[in-house]
C-alpha cells in the first residue's frame, strides 16, 4: 500500500484532485461539488496554539466566576456555567445532565487541551507518542463542543427571564463571550489536513 502523494480525494464526492500550492490564505475547493479540500494557513499552527491557550484561560475563568444572577422579589440565585448540569442531575434527568455536561464542559475542554498538545508539538517540533490519536480525537470532538450554541441558548434564557425579573450578567458571561470568539478563531487557524500533513514530515 503506497500512498499517492500530491493527490487528494474530495471528502463529499470522492473526486480525485491534484494538490497544488495555494496563494497565501487560499482555499482549494472540489471542482465538482465545491467542498473545501484544503487550506493554506501561514503560521496557522502557531496562531491555533496561542488562541487555544488563551481559550483555555478563558474557559477556566468562565467556569470560576458567576455566570448569571437572577433576582426576583428579594431572592437571589446565582449560577455558574455548569450549574445547569448539576440542577438537571438533581431533578433526576441524568441523561440530559450528562449530555449537557459533555457538550459544554468535557468536549470543549478536552478538545482545547488536545489542540494545544498537537499545535505545540507541531510548532516546537516535538513528536510525542499519541499525537496521532490526539489529533483524531480532537477532530471528532469538534462537532460535540457546543459552547457557541450554549451562548445563544443562554441569551434566549436571559430574554425569557428578563420578563419576570432582573437578570444580571456575571463576569463569567463576558469571559464566555470572548471565549466563543477565540474558539472560532482557533478553529479557523487550524486545519487538520495540514496538521496531518505536517505530522508526516520529520520534525525540523
Amino acid at each position: 500500500m503506497s500512498a499517492s502523494a500530491g493527490l487528494i480525494a474530495c471528502h463529499d464526492c470522492d473526486l480525485l484532485h491534484r494538490r497544488v500550492p495555494l496563494p497565501p490564505r487560499g482555499t482549494a475547493r472540489c471542482t465538482r461539488c465545491g467542498s473545501r479540500l484544503y487550506r493554506d494557513l501561514r503560521g496557522g499552527t502557531e496562531r491555533a496554539l496561542a488562541l487555544s491557550l488563551a481559550a483555555i484561560v478563558l474557559l477556566v475563568v468562565a467556569n470560576s466566576f458567576p455566570f448569571l444572577t437572577f433576582k426576583m422579589g428579594g431572592l437571589v440565585e446565582q449560577n455558574h456555567l455548569a450549574s445547569g448540569v448539576v440542577e438537571l442531575f438533581d431533578q433526576g434527568y441524568w441523561e440530559l445532565a450528562c449530555l449537557v455536561c459533555f457538550a459544554i464542559v468535557i468536549a470543549p475542554a478536552l478538545r482545547l487541551g488536545l489542540l494545544v498538545f498537537v499545535t505545540a508539538s507541531l510548532r516546537f517540533g516535538w513528536r510525542p507518542p499519541g499525537l496521532g490519536p490526539a489529533l483524531k480525537l480532537a477532530g471528532r470532538l469538534q462537532e460535540w463542543a457546543m459552547l457557541d450554541v450554549f451562548l445563544l441558548g443562554s441569551l434566549v434564557a436571559i430574554i425569557k427571564l428578563s420578563d419576570l425579573a432582573h437578570v444580571a450578567l456575571g463576569t463569567s458571561m463576558y469571559a464566555f463571550g470572548a471565549l466563543i470568539v477565540l474558539l472560532a478563531a482557533a478553529n479557523s487557524a487550524f486545519d487538520s489536513h495540514e496538521a496531518w500533513h505536517a505530522l508526516e514530515q520529520p520534525p525540523c
Binding site: 502557531e46 488562541l51 488563551a54 484561560v57 477565540l182
Partner: protein, 530 residues
C-alpha cells in the same frame, strides 16, 4: 546597459539568484491574545481574592433554616457575609458553619462579637415586602467595639439581651398568659415602637409569665410608675354581655405579638420608672383601663337559673356600667329552694363617683335599696345568650333577699325572662292535660254509651275547638309580649311549634270525628283521610 533577460513563463534565467528562504523565527503577533487573556484572568482572580473578606467559623447547636451558600450574615440590615458550608461538628455536638465575610468587615470580628440566627419572622422594622417573608433565616452579628481579632465564634442560640449597662430601661412585666408575644415583639407607645421584648420565662413565685422588656433610652422618660402595659397582640375578639368587641393593633402586633403601654391621666404625676421595675401586663387595653382602686362587693341572691351569667359580666343601671360580676355559686339550701349567690363588685369610679367620706358603701346601698332599687338578671346579648345584672327601680315587685349579716346585699326580683320561662314551663302541663282529655275520649268510645257519646261528640269537638282557639290567642299574646326579647321568643317559638303540632293533630282528630263519629269504633274509612 545590458538588456534584461525576458521574464515570464518561458524560463527562469540562470543567473537569477535563488531566493533564500527565511524561516520565520520568533513569535508572531498572535501571542498577544493569550497573554492578554492570561493577564485578564489573573487580574480577575487577584481582584476576587482581594475582594474576599475573611472566612469565619461559627458553631451552633442546630443548623435549622441555615442554607449553605444562601444564608446571609447581616449587621444592622446590611449584608456583611454569606454562609458557605454547614457541616456537623466532628464530635457531633453541634454544627460548624463556615462563612465568608465581606471585604472590610474586620472591625466586626472581635473576640466578643456575638452571632445568632434570626429565624424567619416579620422583622421589627415592619413587614417590608413579600421578599423578606421568603428570604429565610439569617445570622445577625452584634460586634463589640474592641477586642482581639477573631475568626472562630460560638454562636448564640437565642438573640442576646441588651447588655445590663445599656442606657435604656429594662422592665419586668407579669402576665397571666404569654399570648402571642415572642422574643423581639415590639413594645409600642401610642403606636410607635419604643422597645422590644427580650425574653420571657415562667414566673418563679406566682402562676404566670414574666416578660423582660427593654425600652429605648430616648423613650424611657415616657414610662412612669403609673403607666399601664397591656398585651396588644393579635386580634381581640371578646364575647360578652355587651355583644362582640373587635380590636386589633398594628399589623406587626397582629402577626408577631406586641405590648403597648400608656399612662392614664391619674398616673401622669407618678415618678418616672426605674430599671428593674415590675408591672402587670393586662390582657388587653380595656382590661388595663378597668383598674379601679375602689370597689366594694355586693351580694345578690337569685332564685332562678343563672345560665348565661359569666364572671366579668357587667352590672348596669339604665345601660351604664356600674360594676362587674365577680363570682357566683349555689347556696347551701334544699333543692326546691335553690338560690344562687352572686357577688358583684361595684366600681363607683366607672361613673366618676368616688365614695365620699361622709357615708360608707353600706349606707349608700341601703339608701338605694330603700328607694326601690332592685337587681335583676337580664339577657345581654342575642348572639351569646349572656346575662348581665340590671339594677332597676321596681319597688312594687316582691324581692328576694337573705339578709345575711356582714354583707351588703341588693334585693333581687324576677326577670322578665324568668316570668316567661315559668310560663313556658307551664305549656307542657297544658299539653299533658289535653292528652289526657283525648285519652279519656278514646276510653269513652269503647263504652256502651256509644251513641250518646257520639251525639255528644259534636259538642265536644266544638268545645275543643274553642279551647284550642283560646290557647292560640293566649300564645299569640305571649308572642307579642316577647316581641322585644327575641331570644326568649325563639325558645317560646319552639314551645309554640310543639304545641301547634299537637294542636294540629288534635284538630284533625276533631275534624275526623266530626265527619265520621263511628271512626272511634270502626277506625278511619279509606275515604276519610286527611
Amino acid at each position: 546597459m545590458s538588456s534584461d533577460p525576458p521574464a515570464g513563463p518561458a524560463g527562469i534565467p540562470a543567473d537569477v539568484p535563488v531566493a533564500v528562504v527565511e524561516r520565520k523565527r520568533g513569535f508572531s503577533m498572535v501571542w498577544i491574545v493569550p497573554i492578554i487573556a492570561a493577564g485578564i484572568g489573573a487580574w480577575l482572580w487577584w481582584d476576587a481574592l482581594q475582594q474576599r473578606g475573611p472566612e469565619i467559623t461559627i458553631t451552633f447547636s442546630t443548623a435549622e433554616s441555615l442554607d449553605a451558600g444562601k444564608t446571609k450574615i447581616q449587621f444592622n440590615g446590611v449584608e456583611v457575609g454569606l454562609v458557605e458550608t454547614v457541616t456537623l461538628a466532628p464530635d457531633l455536638s453541634g454544627v460548624v458553619v463556615k462563612a465568608r465575610m465581606e471585604h472590610g468587615t474586620d472591625p466586626l470580628l472581635h473576640a466578643g462579637s456575638r452571632f445568632w440566627v434570626v429565624r424567619p419572622r416579620i422583622g421589627l422594622g415592619g413587614v417590608s415586602g413579600l421578599g423578606t417573608l421568603l428570604s429565610g433565616a439569617y445570622i445577625e452579628v452584634e460586634p463589640v467595639p474592641e477586642g482581639a481579632p477573631a475568626r472562630t465564634f460560638a454562636g448564640l442560640e437565642l438573640p442576646p439581651e441588651t447588655p445590663a449597662d445599656a442606657p435604656g430601661l429594662k422592665l419586668k412585666l407579669m402576665a397571666d398568659n404569654l399570648g402571642s408575644i415572642s422574643v423581639g415583639s415590639p413594645v409600642n407607645h401610642h403606636g410607635i415602637t419604643v422597645g422590644k421584648v427580650e425574653a420571657y420565662h415562667l414566673a418563679d413565685e406566682a402562676e404566670g409569665v414574666e416578660i423582660d422588656v427593654y425600652i429605648d433610652p430616648e423613650y424611657s422618660p415616657r414610662v412612669r410608675a403609673g403607666s399601664r402595659f397591656w398585651n396588644a397582640s393579635g386580634i381581640d375578639i371578646a364575647f360578652g354581655a355587651q355583644g362582640i368587641k373587635f380590636a386589633a393593633s398594628s399589623l406587626i402586633s397582629l402577626l408577631a405579638g406586641g405590648v403597648e403601654f400608656d399612662t392614664p391621666p391619674e398616673g401622669t404625676s407618678t415618678p418616672l420608672a426605674k430599671s428593674g421595675a415590675t408591672y402587670h401586663l393586662y390582657a388587653d387595653q380595656t382590661a388595663s383601663r378597668e383598674v379601679f382602686s375602689e370597689s366594694f362587693p355586693v351580694a345578690m341572691y337569685f332564685g332562678g337559673s343563672v345560665r348565661g351569667l359569666e364572671i366579668g359580666a357587667p352590672v348596669e343601671f339604665h345601660g351604664i356600667r356600674l360594676g362587674t360580676v365577680v363570682s357566683f355559686a349555689l347556696e347551701d339550701k334544699p333543692i326546691d329552694e335553690a338560690l344562687t349567690r352572686v357577688v358583684v363588685a361595684i366600681e363607683p369610679e366607672r361613673i366618676g363617683r368616688k365614695l365620699g367620706s361622709d357615708e360608707t358603701a353600706e349606707q349608700r346601698i341601703q339608701r338605694l335599696v330603700a328607694a326601690g332599687m332592685r337587681a335583676r338578671l337580664e339577657l345581654g346579648s342575642l348572639l351569646t345568650g349572656a346575662l348581665f345584672v340590671d339594677i332597676v327601680l321596681d319597688p312594687g315587685q316582691p324581692a328576694t333577699s337573705q339578709g345575711v349579716p356582714g354583707e351588703i346585699e341588693f334585693p333581687t326580683v324576677e326577670s322578665t325572662s324568668e316570668m316567661l320561662a315559668s310560663l313556658a314551663s307551664e305549656a307542657p302541663k297544658l299539653m299533658d292535660d289535653l292528652r289526657r282529655a283525648i285519652g279519656g275520649l278514646a276510653d269513652l268510645a269503647v263504652s256502651e254509651d256509644l251513641h250518646l257519646v257520639l251525639g255528644d261528640m259534636r259538642q265536644v269537638t266544638v268545645d275543643m275547638r274553642q279551647a284550642l282557639s283560646h290557647i292560640d290567642r293566649v300564645f299569640t299574646s305571649i308572642e307579642a309580649l316577647l316581641a322585644s326579647q327575641s331570644a326568649m321568643q325563639v325558645r317560646v317559638a319552639a314551645v309554640l311549634d310543639e304545641t301547634a303540632g299537637t294542636m294540629r293533630a288534635v284538630r284533625e282528630l276533631a275534624d275526623m270525628l266530626d265527619r265520621q263519629p263511628e271512626a272511634l269504633i270502626k277506625g278511619k274509612s279509606s275515604s276519610g283521610d286527611h
